[in-house]
Amino acid sequence: MYPPKIGYVIPDSIEEAIEFLEQHEDARPLAGGHSLIPALKLRIIRPSYIVEIRRFQQLNYVKREGNIYKIGALTTHYDMIKSNVPLLSDAAKTIGDPQVRNMGTIGGVVSHLDPAADYPASLIAMDAKVLIRSKKGQRLVDFKDFAKDMFTPDLNPGELVTEIQVPAFDGYKFSYQKLERRAGDYAIVGVAVLLKVNGSRVEDARIGLTAVNNVAVRAKGAEEELIGRELTEEVVEKASTRAMESANPTSDIRGSAEYKKKMVKVLVKRGINQALGGVRK
């Protein structure tokens, strides 16, 4: 299956890439290509030009500055796994398969915004920010505002995601739980849990859900049930039940809406327990 006829642009610098993308609204940047090339083959998109940005390896980095992790847009899932960023490194392990993780990038995931992608559960739970570059300069937006709808990022022509920023959440316990039926598939339900506990009392709770709405959401009801409470079995049960309030899944080949909603409860519970157990999976 060939992609449709496309033009190909090899820019010498990120500035040139941005300039070309601004002048050609229907051109698309190529990072890892593991969503873009399948979409080309399926004729879901027919861009005039593909603009290669993959070679700008200066955008492949993970660094910690103060309390913030800064992640270059071209950081592959493979590199994310090695970088030990809370939640995101765990989520990276569950993406696709080894070959996909060798190519796919975090910037690609964020710009593509598949509703069932893995990172968004963590990004929303962590209050991630997205750094966007254009000819006019840079702007930093909250991921929750950036993800306007499925496959609909807040990106204008000539704008390129260059960095993702997440707070370090030192002292938090965390877990990413993914339900998948086939190895390497997208999530049926994905849950990211971040907990700050003092003894058995919960000081802060952040729970992100992916694949059960058009975009990733926080399970606010569940968080409310946890914050300020002693962690008993009853509290965990109540919180995971309330997580279902935040899920509005659709029925598809991966499962019925009803099933997915119930799985949200199961995975939130699992996530909380795993986070508390401190077992890194």
Binding site: M1, K5, I6, G7, I10, E52, D97, Q99, V100, G184
Partner: protein
């Protein structure tokens, strides 16, 4: 900046198994097809949807599915296929291990399995059975002969960890 229009061809250089090739390709041409046309027919087109892994090759040190890489994107890349594994008529230890453990049935997935095993063992020279199964999760064997493939990769890891590679 280099712009290749959709009806133009780009001249690219690929180093495959140490041999340098210059080819002209349309921007939409996939790496898997270019490799096959160059004679590296171990690289199989299976599902053509980034699922099955039959097209797996090592590109610049990492395993990739060559059906999901544009040939233009691979410009200047160093590529390794199964054809490049054996040296002086002697099979690579991974190939020998697949042979000795009957790690193949119809053989269609085998080149992809071997290249993924190559990457897996480079990353993790002493994999557990679970590591191996996770490691080849991007490669499908429709004969479902996974048991012997897993055994072969484990055996290959032992052979590679020894200085010499004795046959069983």
């Amino acid at each position: 900046m280099k712009i290749i229009d959709k009806d133009q061809k780009a001249k690219i250089t690929l180093k495959v198994n140490g041999e340098v090739h210059e080819v002209e390709v349309e921007p939409r041409r996939l790496l898997v097809h270019v490799l096959r046309d160059l004679g590296y027919t171990s690289v199989h087109v299976g599902c053509d949807t980034s699922n099955c892994g039959a097209c797996t090759v090592i590109m610049n040190g990492r395993s990739v599915k060559s059906c999901t890489v544009l040939a233009v994107e691979a410009e200047g890349a160093d590529i390794l296929t199964v054809e490049g594994l054996s040296k002086d008529g002697k099979l690579h230890p991974i190939q020998e291990a697949f042979w000795d453990n009957h790690g193949l049935q119809c053989g269609y997935c085998t080149p992809g399995m071997i290249m993924e095993a190559y990457w897996l063992l480079k990353e993790n020279p002493n994999p557990s059975e679970e590591d191996i199964r996770e490691g080849i999760s991007g490669n499908l064997c429709r004969c479902t002969g996974y048991q012997n493939i897993v055994k072969a990769i484990k055996d290959a890891s032992l052979r590679l960890n020894q200085k010499e590679y004795p046959r069983q």
